[in-house]
Amino acid sequence: MPAIEILGLEKTYHVGFWRKRPKCALKPLRLQVEEGEVFGFLGPNGAGKTTTLKLLMGLVFPTSGSARILGHAWDDPAIKAQIGFLPEQPYFYDYLTAHELLTYYGRLSGMGSEEIAQHLDATLELVGLRDVKGLQLRKFSKGMLQRCGIAQAILHHPKVIFLDEPMSGLDPVGRREVRDLIVRLKQQGKTIFFSTHILADAEALCDRVAVVHQGELRGVATVAELTAKVQGKIEIVWQGTSVPASIRVLSGEYHITGDTARATIAENQQDPAIDALRREHLRLISITPVRASLEDYFVERLQRAETSAGGKA
């Protein structure tokens, strides 16, 4: 059974003074996330990531479509006891201490006092906040608040965890900590659905990713599958300090270090580049494929989307 099934969820807002102008925030979205999977939901700002999460959390109502979480209707309040949610740039009641905050959320999740007491310290320990559990949240740093947000999302041992931009606004150390936490949650068998526009995080953590842009799903696959679709590049290295004219034309970037030169060119330009070196009697040292990153894929998809939109216009 899939952990999350999104069955054509769609959201159109009506904007303007008379609320007559429709603005599509999310086109019908179909998506399936398996149990135990870390699923990345990628897209630039305003792509529809937060709208999707708000729809799944029942914070906004869909124009059409539905979803199922762990086999139950997404708007069934009972299923929410199995869900953890961290909103983007979370803000919590800053007059509460971390201990009080988690107790409050525990009660809202239907946990009894004993159960809360049992899990509270362990959860704070997991997110590295046990030593500051008596401190009011107004004295917390942004990273501490983010970790506190994750703590409230996992306190009740949910099976599915939704995280909206969990690394946003964090310093490198904070990002690393949150990444490690996600890895630990995956090891515990949780299903994690997180949205991000930081591609390196998605690349490091996700089993599969979906790319969404302008409210529309552009692709779903593993990171490896997606990056394989991108036109690859190769790095070609040769002995000598001269760069053949044809390689200068083919390559956007070339460097000369000591008595070796290197240039990065498109994979399909490999043969003409080797021919050029041969003609100039330059000795080839190596040809190495340059791994396409998720960013390459992402940029390519967005460019393609913009081109097709321009073509239609």
Partner: protein, 258 residues
């Protein structure tokens, strides 16, 4: 009552208690009760009347300010700060959130009224050197003041569920002022004819009748309060608040939290 409603109510109470503005208001109300003593000292033979009048008016006035000030922010602040997102992503129904908020704020006002009432009784004791049986009527006036707070809390919550804090404050305060003259509105309706009469009468019955809860003058003059009035006001406040809360729930149930 569900554990979730109690949790939301307790959190609302805790927020209000930890809000420093609240303490300023309470301190100011107690100061006004103290001032009643001074005014009472210079009001020969009517010290008691002045102390009760001023003291209870201070309790009522500051309670209303607190009810409006906190009530209008109950929902909008949670949306603006996005704390509502983590609450509603739990097994919490939207109506439970509204009801929890209502009980939390009403509870806060009951506790505030308790402390401010201590100030009023202390001022009375200072002026009269003793409390007598009829002074217990002050408790009835305080009870009616709390019923007024219930009505204001529900109205503030209703407006807070769909409009900005500023507009909510304006709407709630306007209804409070109109409701304080509900009896006059009814008298006016009785003097008119035809459609005007129907509209005036409809309005008079639609707005909350705050004038029925104001017995401060009667209590200050030592007049007894009829049991039927207590029963009528209790039932009215309960039913009116419930109806307004139902309206707030209806609006909030369909609201997109953008």
């Amino acid at each position: 009552m569900s554990a979730r409603i109690i949790a939301i109510a307790s959190n609302t109470f805790r927020e209000a208690v930890r809000d420093r503005v609240l303490y300023n208001l309470i301190a100011f109300a107690l100061l006004l009760s103290g001032a009643a003593v001074l005014v009472g000292e210079i009001s020969i033979d009517i010290e008691k009347l002045v102390v009760i009048n001023l003291g209870l008016t201070a309790v009522s006035l500051f309670g209303i300010v607190i009810a409006i000030f906190i009530g209008i922010q109950l929902v909008s602040k949670e949306i603006e700060k996005r704390t509502l997102y983590t609450v509603l992503s739990r097994p919490v129904r939207r109506w439970e959130f509204i009801v929890g908020k209502f009980f939390g704020l009403t509870g806060t006002l009951v506790v505030n009224t308790f402390f401010m009432a201590i100030g009023v009784f202390a001022a009375l004791l200072y002026v009269e050197h003793k409390l007598v049986g009829p002074d217990a009527m002050i408790l009835t006036a305080l009870y009616f003041i709390i019923l007024q707070f219930m009505l204001i809390c529900s109205l503030a919550l209703l407006f807070s569920s769909f409009s900005s804090p500023l507009l909510s404050a304006v709407f709630t305060f306007a209804l409070f002022v109109i409701g304080s003259f509900a009896d006059d509105l009814r008298n006016f309706a009785a003097l008119t004819h035809g459609l005007t009469r129907w509209i005036a009468m409809g309005l008079a019955y639609l707005v909350p009748n705050f004038s029925a809860f104001n017995i401060i003058g009667a209590v200050a003059h030592g007049q007894p309060v009829a049991v039927s009035l207590v029963a009528h006001n209790s039932a009215y406040a309960l039913l009116y608040s419930a109806a307004v809360l139902a309206g707030a729930v209806l609006v909030f149930e369909h609201r997109n939290l953008k």
